[in-house]
């Protein structure tokens, strides 16, 4: 069994081994610590000259990485907590995401910024957020989120080795511990990779046709698939789950195709509800000609800061039972 954490860590090892121009910059990334969530463990021992532990300067290191990329290198930046991306927002939006376009396609800026988002660990308001929605829709920026239904390490390594554009790689603190659903771990699920769309479709093995589409990414997709199983076994409600791994640029067709088939859609995200990813997904569907969905809903984090106390935090972020409840409600006659 490979966890998401191991898959990402192995990918970083592979990338540093494969290409001398790959560099890693981040706070506290040196061994034996290997980064706050250990994704970078072992790298500084193996590639000492190319793994830089940095000052606490999120904007600065993202900017330095941009300069490296403009001059031919392929830097990877680890931002310790996703919450700290706000400090690098100017660099990301006004610098990294701009250079290629504003210099009239004369340059490329292949910087990969990896960072863990997400709550459910009691870290409180400034260390638990899911903030990528603020970066979706910045032209020139690619946003990826790995899934256990795919290959997290492969998604990361292809970005590091081949991406042409700056990329936010959104991880999740709890997803690190999830097993990747390869071969023997697939258990109850049938997983279909949807071609060039960076998306996956999950159904419960042997289930009848789905009556409702779930759409979720990252760790939320892991919670959604758990909800899917209980809905199937306890309520005999059969759903299918669409999991995009590229959030920007947004490829709507996998969600659209599934929703067209089932006629009902629930979009689930951990980030705060208002003006989030789900809002854009539903807007795209609303603008699609001749698509008549019976029912669409969003389930998301509350529009409040995230509390530290367990019971309060649970009530703030969407969980497995919230998904089940929402689906049941949507299906009530």
């Amino acid at each position: 069994m490979t966890t998401v954490l191991a898959s990402l860590n192995q990918a970083l090892h592979r990338c540093l081994a494969e290409n001398d121009l790959v560099f890693l910059l981040g706070e506290d990334v040196l061994d034996p610590y290997g980064g706050a969530f250990k994704v970078s463990r072992g790298l500084s021992s193996q590639y000492p000259g190319r793994v830089l532990t940095t000052p606490i300067s999120e904007a600065g290191i993202v900017g330095v990485a941009a300069g490296m990329a403009l001059r031919g290198m392929r830097p990877v930046v680890e931002i310790m907590f996703g919450d700290f991306l706000t400090l690098a927002a100017d660099q990301i939006i006004n610098h990294l995401a701009k250079y290629r376009w504003m210099y009239n396609e004369q340059v490329r800026v292949p910087v990969i910024i990896r960072t863990p988002m997400g709550g459910r660990r009691g870290y409180g308001p400034t260390h638990s957020q899911t903030l990528e929605k603020h970066f979706l829709g910045a032209p020139g920026l690619q946003v990826l989120a790995p899934t256990t239904a795919g290959n997290p390490g492969a998604l990361l390594s292809s970005a590091i080795l081949d991406a042409e554009d700056p990329t936010l790689f959104i991880e999740n603190k709890l997803q690190y511990l999830e097993p990747v659903l390869d071969g023997e771990n697939r258990g109850e699920f049938e997983i279909q990779e949807l071609g060039e769309t960076f998306s996956y479709r999950l159904t419960v093995n042997g289930a009848p046709p789905a009556v409702l589409t779930l759409a979720a990414y990252g760790y939320m997709a892991d919670l959604a698939r758990k909800a899917m199983l209980s809905l199937a076994y306890e309520d005999e409600i059969f759903t299918e789950l669409v999991i995009p791994t590229r959030l920007a640029p947004l490829e709507i067709s996998p969600i659209l195709d599934s929703a067209r088939k089932t006629g009902q859609l629930l979009v689930i995200e951990e980030g705060a509800l208002t003006l989030g990813w789900g809002a854009e997904v539903l807007a795209r569907l609303a603008e699609t000609d001749r698509l008549h969905l019976r029912n669409c809903r969003r389930l998301a984090g509350k529009d409040t800061p995230i509390p530290a106390s367990g019971p309060l935090e649970d009530a703030t972020l969407p969980g497995v039972t919230d998904i089940q409840d929402t689906v049941r409600k949507m299906l009530q006659p």
Binding site: L70, M73, N94
Partner: protein, 320 residues
């Protein structure tokens, strides 16, 4: 003194007789910037330029003194006040006019405008301070790839208010980036005089990070050039980042017609601190007049050509 120069268009030896000497080359370099910028300001009211502009009038000796000694692999990152840097680097005057006019033939095809240029190893961006980490990263990349290139980044006094500048200075020093920080202190930021926005020491900002710094109060290219040469030499010898604090004068408005300084103050600056006037007497008057005539012709030609160039096609844009 032997110096290598980038091949600036218009810097060729058009003059009759002996080839252009260094004093003449510097003069031509500064004069090209001066006349270019005056032409921009004069013609702005005609509505032929998009957006705004920040002219380099009064600061020409900085760009020419420093950038005339770069070698082709060297890298330059400039800020909003980038026209002079771009021309001194060797960028095309016609392409710069065309960029300001939003033409397809502009430096960046009209996408960037006045503050967003890229050509060869020259880059600029209009976000104060944000370029400093980028430039630092570029210098580190050159160091890692062992190209021997030096990186030069320009910042103004007002930009010292941006925190990311200090993040970059810290990392440049920690990792010994081969970079020259040039602080062009014209004592004003838009309309804010330095005493209202910058506390403490200018040089201390660099020395606090163990970055050697030289301070120079001069508008004389002949004084600026050797100091920059010393600092670039340190960088090329692997002695890490260096800084140059250049006290200088902005003669023109911040952008257009937005100067809040007293006119007597400006006249006084123009009398005592004009880089072109300071340097002009070192040239043979006849050769100087010939350079003036050639520069006037070059600028007029570039301007007219750019004005006749086509706009980019929005349909092409939609396809990218």
């Amino acid at each position: 003194m032997s110096i290598k120069t980038t091949q600036a268009p218009g810097k060729a030896d058009h003059l009759e007789g002996a080839p252009e000497n260094q004093a003449e080359t510097w003069y031509r370099g500064m004069k090209r910037i001066r006349v270019f910028e005056e032409t921009v300001l004069e013609n702005f009211p005609r509505g032929i330029f998009f957006g705004t502009t920040h002219t380099y009038i009064g600061q020409e000796a900085n760009a020419v003194g420093i950038l005339s000694q770069l070698t082709p692999p060297d890298v330059v990152f400039s800020n909003h006040r980038c026209h002079g840097h771009f021309l001194a680097y060797g960028g095309s005057m016609h392409a710069l006019f065309a960029e300001l006019m939003g033409r397809a033939t502009g430096v960046c095809g009209g996408r960037g405008g006045s503050q967003h240029l890229h050509w060869r190893n020259f880059y600029s961006n209009g976000i104060q301070g944000g370029i400093v980490p980028t430039a630092t990263g570029m210098a580190l990349a050159e160091k890692f790839r062992q190209t021997g290139a030096a990186t030069v980044v320009f910042l103004g006094d007002g930009t010292l208010g941006e925190g990311v500048v200090y993040e970059a200075l810290n990392m440049a020093s920690l990792w010994q980036a081969p970079i020259l920080f040039v602080l062009e202190n014209n004592r004003i930021a838009q309309t804010t005089p330095i005493n209202l926005a910058v506390a403490g020491s200018l040089t201390g900002r660099f020395s606090a990070f163990n970055i050697p710094v030289i301070e120079l109060d001069s508008s004389d290219v002949q004084e600026i050039h050797p100091v920059a040469q010393t600092l670039l030499g340190e960088i090329r010898h692997g002695n890490g980042p260096q800084a140059l604090v250049l006290h200088t004068c902005r003669f023109g408005p911040h952008s257009k017609g937005d100067d809040t300084r007293r006119s007597e103050e400006l006249e006084q600056l123009r009398r005592t601190r004009d880089p072109v006037l300071i340097h002009a007497p070192r040239l043979d008057p006849e050769r100087r007049a010939a350079i003036d005539a050639e520069v006037a012709q070059e600028v007029a030609g570039a301007f007219t050509r750019a004005l006749a160039d086509p706009y980019p096609n929005p349909l092409d844009e939609a396809r990218t």
